[in-house]
Subunit: 141 residues, 2 copies
DNA sequence: ATTAATGCAAATTGTTTGCACGGTC
DNA sequence: GACCGTGCAAACAATTTGCATTAAT
């Protein structure tokens, strides 16, 4: 059993939620994806597996995975939500290529610090943030 | 005729688009709103005016207003798009209060500069960005 | 046994679109 | 008169939800 599986079971147990084959299948599928994915892409991967999971269950389970900290939900703009495997990772932000759709991750301690000072100035207590830069990647300009 | 009206007419003219009472009404309504608004809030204001404008026209006109640079479309998260009067204003980002929904604007030259250097590192050509911080404002914590 | 979870399809939400009619250039 | 713009209602797309059934505890 992977660390992630353990963490998920723990999370479910602590909330009085059940460990079902569908939830396991969703987690396994998530672990098999690298990079960002949508709920529907995840569903498509599970559609013909056994056990499978319906779209509704995919959405519902994704929420629990986010709750457990195993998955991060990122808003990359557009109408659909994106998710990514977050186990053992740190917060990061994104450069999004308008040409090929590539998503480049970045982190900047300096930006985060400035962010904090902006919040301080406004007596604002930050809980999360989203910082995305749209443009064209090396290959696309 | 306000500067904004002039600018809008100019924009429409340059594109071979027509100046209609509905488009004027939408512009007038937009100018009468301060702060951020949704397409639907705008529609509601126009619903019982004369001339009025349908939801479809509100959406369609909003796109032209964004195109002309008079209005800025901002993604504040959630499912609906927000807009704001942008005439004579500079780019800015947002602190969004999860408690009362208040939206505080901020700008930081230093952050923008760091952003530029992040892009340079990745050979990424930025076209726009969106930086939002979610949390609780002074009144809400 | 109890009570949560699933699948399905219907419902929601915000926005877009097809089309017949009316108005602007 | 040509053609764009409008309103309406239907279409959409992503996500959520109600409900009867199935299964984990």
């Amino acid at each position: 059993m992977s660390d992630q599986e353990g963490r998920f079971r723990e999370y479910l147990g602590a909330k009085g939620l059940r460990i079902t084959p569908e939830r396991q299948a969703v987690l396994t599928a998530v672990l098999g994806i690298q990079g960002h994915f949508t709920a529907d892409q995840l569903y498509l991967r599970l559609e013909r597996k056994n056990p499978r999971a319906s779209r509704a269950t995919v959405y519902r389970t994704l929420e629990h995975l986010v709750g457990s900290g195993l998955v991060d939900k990122v808003d990359l703009g557009g109408q659909q939500a994106f998710y990514e495997n977050f186990y053992g990772r740190e917060h990061h932000d994104h450069l999004i290529c308008l040409g090929c759709g590539e998503i480049i991750e970045f982190t900047s301690r300096a930006i985060e610090e400035l962010q904090d000072s902006v919040c301080r100035e406004h007596q604002f207590e930050a809980r999360s943030h989203s910082h995305k830069i749209l443009g064209h990647c090396r290959k696309c300009h």
